[in-house]
């Protein structure tokens, strides 16, 4: 405690250099947290969007492994060496036996929702304009369990759709392009013929590729329209714990003999982009902390030089080398704790302020303001990085201070 008190007095006696050291840590910590809150905020929002739109897992084509045989035959015709090997897979489009797959999936408690989807292509025709679309035939109750469709509806309601067998939910960009609104009638052309649908709702996922191409109709209507009475569909699955998707995908693929793709594999490109952004911003901002650490090292190195005489006197009074080190390490700790505390407050205020800035983004997700992620881990990481730099910046001068020989200093001072 005595060492802490002395450290405190030394710190407050050197306001200017200590303030500069403190400012470096404050800015480093706050910038780190704010940049991480933004990049991870957008990443998290993107993941929420894709999970809410396409689910955590998708079960699609059935495959059949194909095997080859290698054998060595003697001159006399005897087979001496033989083994079978898997050579590849033969894929059959869509799920052949949806009811069997659904039964099999019931054994997995990790699944939060399973939606069977009949996918196909068609053309929407309003009489004035036509647009090709990707139709998704769904059982609306199941699909709401495995997606955020209900939240994505911006006009109309899911009840309009559920109560109308010929109802259609349009992507927002499709409705804009074709000038359609709730209750309008539209023809679906393709498949086995024409289908007359009524617009029940309009959804916006934020993913432009989906919003300008996708429509939802009832599964039974889709099957009838596409002329596929049972197979050919895909399954969209929501998980209680989406991060477990890759492991579960491998497990399901092996068990069901159907191709199962996790959201991480499906969206790898974008996830890698976000990851790269997050790391690069972390590295950039860590440089601020590194520079403040270097500044702090400079301050403490000078402080040790300035305090050599005091160190010698303290040693002559009975302060040990450890005490002397402790006095300098406590000074670093005081600046560090103050820097982290003030920096965290700045970071929280900055994050809140940034989340209020209007920013319209459509394309990979839909937002009208900066998306931030409030995560305690960002504060912990910033604190850890600041700790490492400050520890090094103070430990080296503290060690030097502890090595000072009092007799030599006193002799040289006289």
């Amino acid at each position: 405690m005595l060492c802490f008190k002395l450290a405190w007095r030394f710190v407050i006696a050197r306001k200017r250099p200590m303030f500069l050291s403190l400012a470096g840590i404050v800015f480093g910590v706050s910038f780190f947290v704010v940049t991480q809150a933004q990049t991870s905020g957008f990443e998290k929002f993107f993941i929420q969007t894709i999970l809410g739109t396409n689910g955590a897992l998708r079960i699609s084509d059935r495959f059949q492994d194909t095997y080859g045989t290698v054998e060595q035959v003697d001159d006399d015709g005897d087979v001496r060496f033989l083994f079978h090997s898997r050579e590849g897979s033969l894929y059959h489009e869509g799920v052949d036996q949806p009811s069997l797959i659904r039964d099999a999936l019931a054994d997995y408690p990790e699944l939060m929702g399973v939606s069977e989807i009949m996918e196909g292509s068609a053309v929407l025709d309003t009489g004035f304009r036509r647009k090709s679309v990707v139709l998704n035939g769904i059982r609306w109750e199941d699909h709401l369990q495995s997606s955020d469709l209900n939240k994505q509806i911006i006009q109309g309601t899911i009840n309009n759709f559920s109560s109308d067998q010929m109802g259609v939910i349009l992507g927002s960009r499709i409705s804009q392009r074709l000038g359609l609104k709730i209750g309008d009638r539209v023809s679906l052309v393709g498949g086995t013929g024409n289908l007359h649908l009524r617009v029940s709702a309009i959804f916006e996922s934020g993913v432009s590729q989906i919003d300008k191409n996708r429509i939802y109709i009832h599964l039974i209507t889709a099957r009838s329209f596409l002329g596929s009475s049972h197979g050919g569909s895909v399954f969209q699955i929501a998980l209680n714990e989406p991060s477990h998707a890759p492991g579960l995908a491998a497990q399901l693929q092996s068990a069901l003999n159907h191709r199962v793709v996790s959201w991480q594999e499906r969206e790898r490109v974008w996830l890698d982009v976000f990851k790269a952004l997050r790391f690069s911003s972390a590295i950039t901002v860590s440089c601020i902390l590194l520079l403040s650490g270097l500044g702090m090292f400079n301050v403490f190195a000078i402080l040790v030089i300035e305090k050599t005489r005091d160190i010698a006197i303290l040693r002559s009074m009975g302060f040990s080398r450890t005490d002397i080190s402790a006095i300098f390490l406590w000074q670093g700790t005081i600046v560090l704790v103050a820097g982290i505390t003030i920096g965290s407050l700045f970071a929280a205020s900055g994050t809140y302020f940034i989340s209020m800035i209007p920013l319209r983004i459509r394309g990979i997700f839909s937002t009208d303001s900066f998306v931030v992620n409030w995560d305690l881990n960002h504060y912990l990481w910033a604190s850890c990085i600041a700790f490492v730099f400050v520890a090094v910046a103070t430990w080296i001068p503290a060690r030097r201070a502890a090595r000072i020989e009092p007799a030599k200093i006193i002799r040289e001072t006289l």
Partner: protein
């Protein structure tokens, strides 16, 4: 020798040095400062070491005060040989048994007069109240009670020297090492210094001082 508890191993008797040798390495060779010095400072006596500048008086005191280690020879505190003690033991011994007054006051300028005096007491393990009480008593006896809270750097030269003497006496040291280089002292400081010592030596004459 265990100095972890002051009363447990209080050295009794004189401080002795036997056949001390000490040298310094310098750019142009080694300078031999002490050549087989021996002396004994007995309890209750004032032992004075006088000599021309550079003859090794301060070096001898640093060795006796465990601030430095001799090249060879022995230093005794009572019956205990102390020159080869580990650094931590030497540090404890300085805190428990030795009071230094250097040629300059060497106060810590960030602290007040009373805080400077309290430091060795707090290091000894005294609580803050009793350390402050003792420091106040010392300041009163040296006529500085009104300057107790004044920062060290705002005290006059004479006041600073008195505070330095009070600090050296705070832990009631067994051995009191004073360095007096009159050439660099003002007449006023010398007077203050002599007065302080007279007050203290009259009270503490039963102890061993150097």
């Amino acid at each position: 020798m265990d100095f972890s508890q002051k009363n447990k191993m209080m050295p009794n008797g004189s401080m002795r040095v036997e056949n001390l040798f000490h040298s310094f390495s310098e750019a142009n060779g080694t300078v031999q400062v002490l050549n087989g010095v021996s002396l004994e400072a007995k309890p209750g006596e004032i032992t004075s070491i006088a000599g021309p500048s550079g003859c090794g008086k301060s070096t001898l005191l640093y060795l006796m005060g465990l601030l430095d280690r001799p090249d060879s020879g022995k230093v005794f505190m009572g019956d205990s040989e102390v020159q080869n003690l580990e650094d931590d033991e030497r540090t404890k011994a300085r805190n428990h048994f030795i009071g230094f007054v250097f040629q300059f006051h060497f106060l810590i300028k960030e602290l007040s007069a009373i805080e400077n005096i309290s430091l060795p007491l707090l290091k000894l393990g005294k609580d803050e109240d009793s350390a402050n009480q003792k420091a106040n008593d010392l300041l009163s006896e040296l006529g500085l009670e009104s300057k107790a809270q004044r920062p060290a750097y705002k005290l006059s030269g004479g006041e600073q020297q008195r505070v330095a003497i009070a600090r050296a006496l705070a832990n009631s040291p067994k051995y009191f090492l004073l360095m007096n280089q009159r050439g660099i002292w003002t007449v006023q400081i010398q007077k203050v210094y002599s007065n302080c010592l007279n007050v203290w030596l009259s009270k503490l004459v039963y102890r061993s001082y150097l």
